[in-house]
């Protein structure tokens, strides 16, 4: 009895620590975003509640927050969609069709995901500059898709390889083409896998920083992560309230996604990292 009590206590303390560790910075962000001043922790400065920060971020033109948000959401959605689509085609081929050297392809793709981004961005910049694509959506989208495809492929391959091959054969017997089998038979069965891939690809694109930093020059294509580093004040006075309000608006969807779809995200992450 004593042992199990001890165990419960240990687990409880551990969970409390874990929650504090993970949530405190996030909660701090939320609190500051509703405060008139970030200095409420210093003695003598009271905490006063306000919506002004959100108002400034949502309505104020000069911060370009809404532009950044639109760019981020659009780019991440399109990237995730393309990654799932292109990744599914390839994953289907790798798991079902006689493609020569598919093991090499998987390894190549794995190796590619280990590349440091800095090794690509210098040349990508020159490439996009030569095409006149710096600060355009396509100039950011194409590298994003290529960057996220490896992970998408691995997750999808791991899901697809669990779908019985008999389903395909039944489809072939019915005279379906491979393409029809993919979207009529495999897609409906693999919805959870596709959904986790989509979520992960979306989060990866949404969080990407270095390409966005180097391949965009202004609010017309700049994404949130880069935009938020541009929120600055004069002589070291940073508009913390605005930054935190913008952060809260940005991360709220991500936080909700993480909590609601944790099962899918964890599934995807696990399959992407440890081949399931």
């Amino acid at each position: 009895m004593r042992r199990s009590w001890l165990k419960t206590l240990l687990i409880f303390t551990g969970v409390a620590f874990m929650l504090a560790f993970c949530l405190v910075p996030f909660l701090y962000m939320v609190v500051v975003s509703f405060s008139t001043t970030p200095e409420f922790l210093t003695p003598g400065v009271p905490f006063k509640f306000t919506f002004d920060n959100f108002d400034a971020v949502l309505v104020g033109q000069s911060l370009h927050f809404m532009d950044y948000l639109r760019n981020s959401v659009l780019l991440s959605l399109i990237s995730a969609f393309c990654c799932v689509f292109i990744g599914s085609l390839a994953a289907y081929a790798v798991t079902r069709l006689p493609v020569p050297g598919k093991m090499y392809l998987l390894f190549l793709v794995l190796a590619v995901s280990m590349f440091p981004q800095i090794g690509l961005v210098g040349y990508l910049f020159k490439f996009m500059a030569a095409l006149g694509w710096i600060n355009t959506y396509q100039g950011l989208l194409l590298p994003y898709i290529a960057w996220i495809l490896p992970l998408s492929l691995w997750i999808l391959v791991s899901y697809f390889s669990q779908i019985p091959i008999e389903l395909d054969q039944a489809g072939l017997v019915d005279g379906c083409s491979r393409w029809q089998i993919l979207y009529k038979i495999i897609f409906p069965v693999a919805v959870p896998g596709i959904f986790s891939t989509f979520l992960l690809a979306f989060i990866l694109a949404f969080n990407e920083f270095m390409y966005a930093l180097m391949l965009t020059t202004d609010y017309r294509t700049r994404t949130i992560p880069v935009g938020i580093t541009m929120f600055q004040g004069l002589h070291g006075q940073t508009p913390w309230g605005n930054i935190m309000a913008a952060s809260v608006i940005t991360v709220l969807p991500a936080v909700l996604l993480a909590i609601i779809f944790q099962r899918y995200i964890i599934g995807g992450l696990t399959r992407g990292a440890v081949k399931g």
């Binding site: 000069s62 085609l89 194409l142 083409s177 491979r178 393409w179 202004d218 004069l234």
Partner: protein, 433 residues
């Protein structure tokens, strides 16, 4: 099977087509631009000012101007502009540059020469500033919007109280005054220090160091592909900076960890220091309504060592036009508008900036509102630039690290300067033609 082939073929085809189309779309020529894009950063009040100014310019000329808001952080602004310029973007057309970047921008051939436009009256600008910063290989490539220089702020009331009749002329006088007054003031205010300046590891440290070194007849010497930092004059000046903190203890111990412009300004403004080295912007803030030192502050040129003159590091922002601009003539019109007497006067009155035009400093209305301008003019004649090297930022990084090590007591001035010289030389060698 045929349908498989067809659909997958079609798919692959359409993806390839899409790619090709995208590629082609990039190659098309862009039409001549009817609007110009002006990149500028700063505090909200400054951006609001530019917004108003742009509106007026639009009303007057019919030329539409897009304001491209940049961050305040100087290095982020530089990186942003370089990305656009290096990529050959036609936007922004016209922008403000820190004086320390001009070397790099000019040498990279990103700036449109301005001398072809002979309707510019160059005599109204500080000749020294033009020669030090805005000319590159015989061409005028930028013009000063706003001039900055290091100044000495002092507490007039305290000098009077202890019987000193004028601000210190030399560094040893500054030290003597500081020691006496610090000792006296500590009895009522234990947090009181003699002298605050910028010693944290950042660009401002270089600006401060150049003023000590320059006033000891030293500085950064660059000749025949050799960079020289390790000289007796520089060592002595650096040792003096170290001594202010560690031996005489007239500068606070956080000088080398935290002191940047704002930290020094608030320290002084709270009444905790006798002297302060800062840029002109601090004046208006020291004299603001809620400032504890309002009406007690004096302004002077920086002190010097016995062998050298008083030196102020040249700072400030300059306006230039991109070589890739697709609206150069319109940009030039805008630039003329920004540099006009009226606009420059408003810059001074509304933002208390120090205009690049000399004639604003003699304007009666300006002097009435900003009496310290009469003294600034004299200071701006002693301006000393940072080395005009295209890779200056890299050299600065090296020097910042080593100088800060001296100030923190982790390294001797001799060691640090010879190490900095060696490291800086590797950078110089890398870019030797």
């Amino acid at each position: 099977m045929i349908s498989t082939r067809l659909s997958s073929l079609r798919l692959a085809e359409s993806i390839c087509l899409l790619l090709i189309l995208l590629f082609l779309s990039g190659c098309g020529q862009k039409p001549e631009s009817t609007t110009i894009t002006f990149a500028v950063g700063g505090a909200p009040a400054e951006l609001d000012f530019w917004q108003v100014l742009i509106g007026e310019f639009q009303d007057r000329t019919g030329i539409k101007v897009d304001l491209l808001r940049q961050p305040t952080d100087t290095d982020l602004r530089r990186q942003g502009l370089i990305t656009s310029l290096k990529a050959g973007r036609s936007d922004p057309d016209v922008f403000l540059m820190d004086v320390a970047w001009l070397g790099q921008f000019a040498a990279s051939d990103w700036l449109e020469p301005l001398d072809t436009h002979n309707d510019l009256d160059l005599d109204v600008f500080f000749e020294k500033v033009l020669n030090l910063a805005d000319r590159y290989q015989g061409h005028l490539i930028a013009l000063p919007v706003y001039v900055d220089g290091g100044l000495l702020y002092y507490r007039q009331d305290l000098l009077n109280k202890y019987g000193f009749d004028k601000p210190p002329q030399t560094w040893s006088e500054l030290l003597r005054y500081s020691l006496v007054i610090q000792k006296g003031e500590r009895e009522t205010n234990p947090d009181f220090y003699g002298f605050v300046w910028q010693g944290a590891q950042y660009e401002g440290l270089i600006c401060n160091w150049l003023e000590y070194a320059g006033s000891n007849a030293g500085g950064i010497v660059f000749e025949d592909g050799r960079i020289i930092l390790h000289t007796p004059a520089n060592v002595q000046a650096t040792q003096f900076m170290h001594a202010l903190i560690h031996i005489h203890k007239v500068s606070p111990p956080n000088t080398y960890t935290e002191m940047k412009e704002e930290e020094a300004r608030t320290f002084f403004q709270q009444g905790n220091a006798l002297f302060e080295r800062n840029w002109p912007y601090a004046w208006a803030l020291h004299q603001s309504e809620d400032s504890p030192v309002r009406g007690k502050v004096g302004l002077a040129g920086l002190p010097h060592f016995s062998v050298g003159p008083s030196v102020s590091t040249l700072g400030g922002w300059h306006i230039g036009i991109s070589k890739h601009s697709d609206a150069k003539q319109k940009s030039f019109e805008f630039m003329k508008f920004v540099l006009s007497f009226e606009t420059q006067k408003r810059l001074a009155l509304e933002l208390s900036w120090n205009p690049g035009r000399r004639d604003v400093y003699t304007d009666q209305q300006v002097i009435a509102a900003l009496p310290h301008f009469t003294r600034l003019r004299g200071v701006f004649e002693n301006l000393r630039p940072r080395p005009n090297l295209p890779y200056y930022t890299l050299i600065s990084q090296v020097l910042q690290r080593h100088l800060n090590a001296v100030l923190s007591g982790n390294s001797s001035a001799t060691e640090a300067l010879s190490a900095a010289e060696r490291e800086a030389q590797t950078i110089v060698d890398r870019y030797a033609q």
